[in-house]
Amino acid sequence: MKLTLSDEQARFGATLHDLLDAADVPAASRAWAAGDAVPGCAVWRRLADAGVTALAVPEKWGGLEASPADLVVACEELGHHALPGPAMETVAAVPALLAALGGAAAERWLPALASGEALATLAAPPWLPYAVDADTAGVSLLAARPAGAADLLASGSPTAAARLPGATGATGAIVARPARAAVGVWVGVVGEAVASVDPTRRLFELGPGEMLADDAGGAVGRALDLGALACAAHLLGAGRAMLETAVEYAKQRVQFGQPIGRFQAIKHALADVAVGLEFARPLLYAAAVTLTPRDVSAAKVACASAAHRAARAALQVHGAIGYTEEYGLGRWLTRVRALMAAWGTSSDHRARVLATLTAQAEPWS
């Protein structure tokens, strides 16, 4: 098992960092949150030129068919810059799902995803109750069990549930279906907008449109695992960005006659953040190698927890300025808060680790 990056992977990450550094992501984020996706999509097109959107697409549909480790390198850098847009969906989960479905669905969208012409989003309750940026994405997919209407209801989306196949029509009614109904995949019909803690994540309900597959549990499960892996990488990158910002600030901010970074309380807090991030990294890389549900879940839990610690410490080190919109730390704070719950909560993933350890087969939902 190889848990270190190759020179080429490190160079790819550094290149994406340079690209995003020069692309004014903060301005694109502000516009994105205000409903103007144009500057953000321009950044996505540059990423597409660098190959990011083609990584998980098979070569026969114009992709690069890169390894999950390459994907992790890219996703960490997207999180490092808190790029707006449906990142995990576009670069990981949706290409993986479409490639697994194959046929007409793959033919229809994968070339556009690989070239960066379209962004993609996905709703897959309960891990992903809503679809991010479905108003901007060119491809919106819904993966659910028909009986998953119950999941949608539980997540507070009765209107979407009512539109699910097999719904009785009465809004709010829980559809009676066999518990083990097969997982279907539909083209998503964009519904109502829902508020997110992260203003750059514009959430939407998705209802089922054209059906693409009626029994795709395995494909959906693998796609969600790849998405969760990408999400873990995104979280790790966001954590790293906040550590860097906080360390820089601690060196500049003077209080009681010296930079606050000289105080042990600050030093220890930031050291704990650094240790947390570096200990999460091997789990992330291991999951990229094995892609087993257990390793992906371990990586998601570790990266979410390390990023959360980074967010709390960074906010505290910054003091009141960290809360201000102008300073920009909030882009990472809210992103981490949102992603801790998306792609499976830490409880979901801990349960999955437990289930595999105790040898109880547990599917993705």
Partner: protein, 259 residues
């Protein structure tokens, strides 16, 4: 068209740079070393010419073994191959000696066009393209902000403080470019992975038939006798505005001959 791009590895101009205390040469050991920024524009221009007219793009670097990292990075942008002139005897070479070595290396490459950055961010003398052209006996089109190619005819807009001059020449020629000429591409995933397999030929002074005595610190035509660190910035002069702050500002600007 056969294009050779000269690429120099330099200490990052955005980070702290030092001269060595023992021999007054650039301290590469402690620096973060990168491709000379202006050379990235030369690589981009070469790739655009290749896309339009075909041919081959070769990177030519003279530098220590650590420069191999910059060569791989340059190759990841798209050039086909690279030549690395590496020899311990080259340490401390002056511009004149550098041009001699590069001219010898170019003699093996049969280039129609030699592209390079107008200056390096560490040396900043801008003289190398001229020396090289003189040694090769070809035209020097320097400081270009635009380059157009029509068959074997080259036309550049040479950037000056007042505007630009139109200069023409025939291939083969040496063309140096400023950062106004294009927007260099970022290496793509494909380019980075492909760069790993591209050929990099290492040449020593012996391979080029250049005597070690002609290059290096001892063979240098110029010498750095001593150096000292730039003094730390002083506090500056504060003007308190008591109704005549504007006048004081103008007076200051006048003494500095800004107005």
């Amino acid at each position: 068209m056969n294009i050779v791009v000269l690429v120099k590895q330099v200490p990052d101009s955005g980070a702290e740079r030092n001269l060595r205390t023992d021999d007054n040469t650039v301290d590469r050991g402690s620096a973060s070393n990168v491709i000379n920024e202006m050379d990235e524009y030369a690589i981009e221009e070469a790739l655009r010419i290749q896309e339009a007219h075909g041919g081959e793009v070769t990177i030519l670097t003279m530098g220590p073994s650590g420069a191999a990292e910059s060569i791989r990075k340059a190759l990841s942008m798209g050039p086909d191959k690279a030549v690395h002139v590496v020899d311990d005897a080259l340490h401390g070479s002056c511009a004149l000696a550098t041009s001699k070595v590069l001219a010898a290396a170019l003699g093996t490459l049969n280039a129609d066009l030699v592209l390079c950055g107008a200056e390096s961010t560490d040396g900043r003398v801008q003289v190398l393209p001229h020396m090289l052209a003189e040694r090769l006996g070809v035209a020097a089109l320097t400081g270009a902000r635009k380059l157009t190619i029509d068959g074997s005819a080259l036309t550049i807009e040479r950037q000056t403080d007042e505007g630009y001059e139109v200069v023409t020449a025939q291939t083969p020629a040496v063309v140096s470019v400023w950062d106004t000429i294009n927007e260099p591409r970022y290496p793509s995933f494909k380019g980075i992975m492909a760069a790993k397999k591209k050929p990099v030929q290492a040449l020593s002074l012996g391979d080029l038939g250049v005597a070690p005595s002609e290059v290096g610190l001892d063979g240098a035509s110029s010498a750095v006798v001593e150096h000292s660190k730039r003094p730390p910035r002083s506090g500056g002069q504060k003007v308190t505005d008591e109704g005549e702050g504007g006048v004081k500002l103008v007076e200051f600007l006048a003494t500095e001959k800004f107005v």
